[in-house]
Assembly symmetry: C2
Homo-oligomer: 292 residues x 2
């Protein structure tokens, strides 16, 4: 029976699945780490081919993860990583020189049609192609030169959770191996899995009270900057897909550059901040939002 023939889950079933898969995140991360040797192998192949420009493609949560990849590859091996245009290659058939490029094709299912087609074309044009997918037997995996399996286990909820986190981990781990820092990154990922195991139940207990005032929100901005911009995009997509909130992701600086003018006192803004070099820009944006 194909997924489309299966009965659609009721809203309550969908919520239960969604929450269950959030709880599976630590185990999914640990399963990914068991495949560390695959990441080391692919990193060595990238370096051997001198394919150090990283082109990333995906849709939805996979596309959001590419925003993290820009920083992972920029800060670890100091390579240029870009979210490539699928349209340029697949629809317009632009004849770009892809030698010297690695393509990371991200698809949980491995069945995203235009991502598969993109890989087919750029491989012909000289790119080294790697599928990062939860299904190592998928069409995408077969089309690419190499495969990095997410090992997240079946994902049944429509809104991705564990595969999104595993995709970030996969991008970071590959970038770390490319920079010769794979071992350190493995240890940090393992510590993150432990931390998540403690944090998720704690957050779950506290989050209800925070969520209630937003139950009827129809629109929201989600702002952040730097590596957290991936989180910003993913939160906005989750709000849209699960709560029907028209949530727009934007960088803290883009927000302050114009859209802040659209705010009124009933327009919620969700800010994501990490204690890193981008924190002052995020705090400045939040201060402006509060003074509306």
């Amino acid at each position: 029976m194909s997924p489309s023939e299966a009965a659609a889950p009721t809203p309550s079933q969908a919520g239960t699945r969604f929450l269950a898969e959030i709880h599976e995140q630590p185990e999914a991360l640990e399963r990914l780490l068991e495949r560390d040797e695959d990441f080391a192998r692919v990193a060595a192949a990238i370096q051997e081919r001198k394919a150090t420009t990283i082109r990333m493609v995906g849709h939805g949560s996979s596309d959001n993860a590419t925003s993290y990849g820009v920083y992972a590859f920029g800060l670890l091996p100091r390579w240029t990583a870009l979210r490539d245009s699928i349209s340029l290659v697949v629809y317009y058939r632009a004849e770009l020189d892809m030698s010297g490029c690695t393509v990371l094709a991200l698809s949980q299912s491995g069945r995203t049609r235009d991502v598969v087609e993109y890989v087919r074309r750029v491989r012909e044009r000289g790119a080294f192609t790697v599928a990062i997918t939860n299904d190592p037997e998928s069409e995408l995996a077969h089309e690419a030169n190499d495969v990095l399996p997410l090992c997240a286990g079946p994902e049944l909820a429509v809104a991705a959770t564990k595969t999104y986190l595993s995709t970030l981990a996969a991008l970071g781990l590959l970038a770390a191996h490319c920079a010769g820092e794979g071992d350190r990154f493995v240890n940090e990922l393992r510590a993150s899995a432990d931390l998540l195991r403690t944090l998720i139940p704690t957050l779950e207990a506290r989050i209800g009270g925070v969520a209630v005032p937003f139950a009827f929100a129809g629109r929201m901005f989600v702002v952040g900057r730097g590596a957290e911009y991936a989180t910003v995009r993913e939160i906005a997509l989750k709000l849209l897909e699960t709560c029907r909130v028209a949530a727009e992701p934007m960088t803290a600086t883009a927000f302050a550059h114009g859209p802040v003018a659209a705010l009124d006192s009933l327009f919620p803004v969700w800010a994501i901040a990490s204690d890193d070099e981008t924190l002052p820009a995020v705090l400045e944006a939040v201060a402006r939002a509060r003074h509306v």
Copy 2:
């Protein structure tokens, strides 16, 4: 007197300026074309330095224009053009190798702080830097290796119109010269200016009736694909800045991949379609939106 000391325009004055600057677009385009030799000179300098990876940076409307640049450089000289991360260079100080890269720094005012700082850093790291700005005497223009002036005349409305169009024209014209097709592109831009002169009054007469039903919309999706994705982003930003509509730009394919589930019959979707290779994907997205 600095702009912040000047009296803020009333809403009616702001609307009058905004409309006046829309009407100035054909003249702005023609003034840009008078500087065609500058574009040919910069294109020659890019080729001489073999700086054929194009990194673009800007905020707001300038950032939206970079989405068009990806297609202009991909389809004309067949080079890789990317919207670069300002945070990676300016905040995280990532030490990327920028030799072989041209940087196009886009800022109407030439005073966007982190764009100026970005140019300073990437120039030190070996990039060939070009400022595309409406103020050739600005700090940005002085910081860059070369300058392409937009020649759009003073832009007073807060929501950019003529400088946005002129930025697209500048990116296209530079890409065309890089591909040895500058003369053809000049002729097409001149024809576009003529067409605009006829179209703007016609559109102005018809648009009022279309706009009225949306007067109270609080949220909207704007969808399209390929080269028109720049238009999609710019329309969404205009809706946000001038009408306070939480308008989210997305590609037609990303839309169909998930957010379509957030629609109901009172959720407006604005689709942009061109008669090019991406049309089927846009029509498919529109069909899905209509059947909600």
